[in-house]
């Protein structure tokens, strides 16, 4: 059984809806800037990728009052994805509609406000909605209720890796009878307390210039910019939709050994297992959407893994997340959306920022998009603490016809 992605709902710092997002991404337009949601000028990291409030304007007031911004972004992304898929949930048996999302840090701004009310005032000041807005399951629950979806409902947490894990669980839900799954993830980590929490990871940049703050694989990389938003996706069994974006071909995840154990990091194993699960060789992967941590040690581990599997400069690598910042649970979901758009349009979107450190021996697609014949894309995501996820996405039949390269596509089918 083949799982295809039929709808994409992007809510990103550099574009709402996949058309606007894709245009911005190909043009190298960044959504990163000084954080404006609150006065972040006193913090070491004061940059972020913020989503325009227009993205959530369609969330009804009644729902907005009982949800955090992260859930509102998820609800908005879901509407976009369902419309894009041309899927009317009311036409499908509710028990065969599933919702499986990723979250990394839950309802940050809502939660901070209510804890403040409790401590600055009294228990009576805490909102009746705190119990349903702060916890990690809020988005899945609200999406399921809004669209009458009564199939398997799940929530996974694996920091930045969670988006791929959710997609893998979505495919599993199709195997056990679901007809369509709303999946993906969003994140809203730009409240003061959440930002201060993130800063303690030591992975946030302290750069002040948005154009140059998040520079993965650069010799002087010094952390990432946090961002909000993500992408919701509709995953279905092949057949209904006339023109799906592509196929989920294979997935694997591994976990790194405890630091100091002397055992090697396991990202490379995740990549090999994902290729194996997808029944493709490394030669059949035409582009890699990198995790691109922007931390030298992590960039080295990722480039080592890519070199081990693909050889030096062996595969085009890109990190469009340089235009959004890292979106945590929304990040890998958005990377999947970007990879699918890339497969559909047969063009690799660029990474913005400086050239990579030559020691990494990466073929990084820099500044300008690169047309190419793209049969399969590999998406990598790593979650803080040691989570490694790798997913292979395949182009939809027909998308590689007439593409740029003269030697033609070598399509393999599941």
């Amino acid at each position: 059984m083949s799982a295809v992605v039929t709808g994409i709902g992007v809510v990103a710092p550099n574009g709402i809806g996949h058309e606007a997002y894709w245009s911005a991404t190909l043009a190298g337009v960044s959504g990163v800037g000084p954080i404006e949601r609150f006065d972040a000028s006193g913090y070491r990291c004061c940059l972020g990728g913020e989503v325009d409030d227009a993205a959530i304007a369609g969330v009804p007031g009644r729902l907005a009052a009982q949800t955090d911004r992260w859930t509102q972004l998820g609800l908005a992304g879901t509407e976009l994805a369902l419309a894009d898929a041309g899927l009317d949930p009311s036409t499908v048996d509710d028990y065969r509609l599933a919702v499986i999302t990723a979250s990394s840090s839950g309802g940050n701004e809502f939660g901070q406000r209510e804890i403040e009310r409790l401590w600055a005032h009294s228990p009576e000041h805490v909102s009746a909605y705190q119990s349903i807005a702060w916890f990690y399951a809020a988005t899945t629950g609200q999406v399921a209720i809004r669209h009458g979806m009564r199939g398997p409902c799940g929530v996974v947490v694996a920091e930045q890796a969670g988006g791929l894990e959710a997609l893998s669980d979505a495919r599993r839900a199709l195997d056990s009878g679901a007809v369509a799954v709303v999946t993906g993830g969003t994140e809203a980590p730009l409240s003061p307390y959440a930002l201060v929490c993130q800063a303690t990871s030591g992975r946030l940049t302290d750069a002040a210039d948005p154009a140059d703050a998040y520079r993965p694989f650069a010799a002087d990389a010094n952390g990432h910019v946090p961002g909000e938003g993500g992408a919701m996706l509709i995953v279905e069994q092949a057949g209904r939709a006339a023109a799906p974006y592509g196929t989920i071909r294979g997935y694997a995840n591994t976990f790194d050994p405890r630091p100091g154990s002397g055992r090697p990091p396991s990202l490379v194993r995740a990549i090999r297992l994902a290729l194996q699960a997808a029944h493709v060789t490394s030669e059949e992967i035409d582009v890699v959407f990198a995790d691109a941590a922007g931390v030298p040690e992590l960039d080295r581990i990722e480039s080592d893994a890519l070199r081990a599997v693909f050889g030096p400069h062996g595969v085009p690598v890109t990190a469009p997340k340089t235009m959004t910042g890292r979106l945590y649970a929304g990040g890998a979901s958005l990377d999947v959306a970007t990879a699918l758009l890339s497969l559909r349009h047969q063009i690799i979107p660029p990474t913005i920022g400086p050239a990579p450190d030559p020691r990494y021996e990466l073929d990084l697609v820099l500044r300008e998009p690169r047309p190419a014949t793209l049969r399969n894309a590999l998406v990598l995501a790593r979650g803080y603490g040691g989570f490694n996820s790798a997913m292979v996405l395949g182009a939809a039949p027909g998308n590689t016809d007439g593409a740029a390269r003269s030697d033609g596509p070598h399509r393999t089918d599941d």
């Binding site: 070491r44 840090s105 209720i145 979806m149 009564r150």
Partner: protein, 420 residues
């Protein structure tokens, strides 16, 4: 499921005892561990009672650093994982690459998040919190996946590691997803369980705000009264349970002690209300039906139902209806009890703790009781095993859970060889 999944080790940190033996003694004696809150000064709150763990991280074997930097929920999980691994006879037989973790938690490290918030905000006075007052481990509290990472490091897992957070069904779901990792061949051994430590001001306040918790502050020992007509809300709890799951064929080959097999698992959403339940229990009934079908076990073969039994009127009626719908007339003959009557409702953790209770029930041939059930709600007319444990051999056990967000989960546990 394609490969069968055996439970070969269990570990528990629960109110009333920090080991599976103390836990089981409490349940079979029908004692309650609910009491006035001691973890913080609860004056001013509507519900001032909870089921607390008497837990000393150092005495439980954790290091000074773990005791200082890990959230209480992460500490619970580590201690429960160690006990489970010991019970399974160690994990030396498992390759790190084939060893996974599936941990559930509803509210993650909220205790650590709240305590640190108080410090960096000047007790809620500053919206722009003070970054210089933040402790280095604060990011671990923000992302609850850090707890799954801790368990993975503890046992040396380098296979699939995940944190499942589906509210109050997190525990059952985490065990179910862990079993799937084995059934589908992604791992051979999985540490599966859940943890939560929500007895802190913000969690107590948010349940106060919707009057979900019991206000029986004058009589905490009898406050958790599932299926009793005088029930008035759930009693918050805390704790963790972790199980060692392994490929049943491997377990048999190495001569491991097998408590039971995870034979079926299904979860559904009610698409109805974030905190409300449809009175007919349709979605829970559907989850039960699908879980039994996966196990290839006929509904008439169920010997015991471990209820969600939180002690709210809507829940008790909802799941009573769900069990009648899914098990048919025999529902009246099958004992169905709620251990939340004794150890409270530890949100995401409780589902895993209840799976351990089911495994021990099958092991010892004893069904735990529903404590405090003196006057059954006339609308709840099943056999809820009031007050006293009952000797009964069970080959097929059903455990159900229900949670905020509309989540409904069912799991079928079966004696080895019993599932189809």
């Amino acid at each position: 499921m394609t490969r069968r999944v055996a439970v070969t080790g269990v570990g528990v940190v629960a109110p009333g005892g920090t080991s599976r033996k103390e836990f089981w003694d409490l349940l079979t004696e029908g004692r309650t561990a609910t009491r006035a809150i001691t973890l913080f000064d609860a004056a001013g709150f509507r519900s001032r009672i909870a089921a607390e763990c008497d837990f000393d991280p150092i005495a439980a074997g954790l290091s000074d650093e773990q005791a200082r930097t890990l959230d209480r929920a992460a500490q619970f999980a580590l201690v429960a994982a160690r006990e489970a691994v010991g019970d399974a006879g160690g994990l030396g037989f498992a390759a790190p690459e084939r060893l996974g973790v599936s941990l559930g938690s509803a509210v993650g490290c909220t205790m650590g998040l709240e305590q640190n918030y108080v410090a960096v905000s000047g007790r809620g006075r500053h919206w722009l919190v003070d970054a210089d007052a933040a402790v280095p481990e604060l990011y671990h509290h923000l992302v609850p996946s850090s707890m799954a990472a801790e368990v993975a490091w503890e046992v040396g897992a380098e296979g699939p590691v995940k944190l499942v957070s589906t509210g109050c069904t997190s525990g059952l779901d985490a065990v179910g997803h862990g079993a799937r990792l084995i059934a589908d061949g992604q791992a051979d051994v999985v540490l599966a369980g859940a943890t939560d430590a929500p007895i802190s001001p913000i969690s107590v306040a948010c349940f106060d705000a919707i009057r979900a918790t019991s206000p029986s502050n004058d009589d905490p020992e009898h406050a958790s009264r599932p299926f009793d007509r005088r029930r008035n809300g759930f009693v918050l709890g805390e704790g963790s349970a972790v199980l060692v799951l392994e490929d049943a064929a491997t377990a048999r080959a190495r001569g491991a002690h097998v408590y039971c097999e995870v034979a079926g698992f299904a979860h559904r959403g009610n698409a109805y209300h974030m905190t409300g339940l449809r009175p007919d229990g349709a979605e829970m009934a559907e989850a039960i039906r699908v879980a039994l079908a996966e196990a290839r076990i006929d509904p008439s073969a169920v010997d015991y139902v471990n209820a969600h039994g939180s002690g709210t009127k809507q829940n008790d009626r909802h799941e009573t209806a769900a069990v009648k719908t899914s098990l048919g007339p025999r529902a009246y003959e099958i004992p169905m009890s709620s251990i939340k009557s004794m150890i409270g409702h530890s949100l995401g953790a409780i589902g895993a703790i209840e799976v351990v209770a089911c495994a021990l029930s099958m092991e010892h041939g004893v069904v735990p009781p529903t404590a405090n059930l003196h006057e059954p709600d006339p609308d709840c007319d099943l056999d809820y095993v009031p007050l006293h444990a009952r000797e009964q051999r069970s080959d097929v056990v059903l455990s159900v859970g229900s949670g905020f967000g509309g989540f409904q989960t069912a799991m079928v546990l079966a004696a080895p060889g019993r599932a189809g």
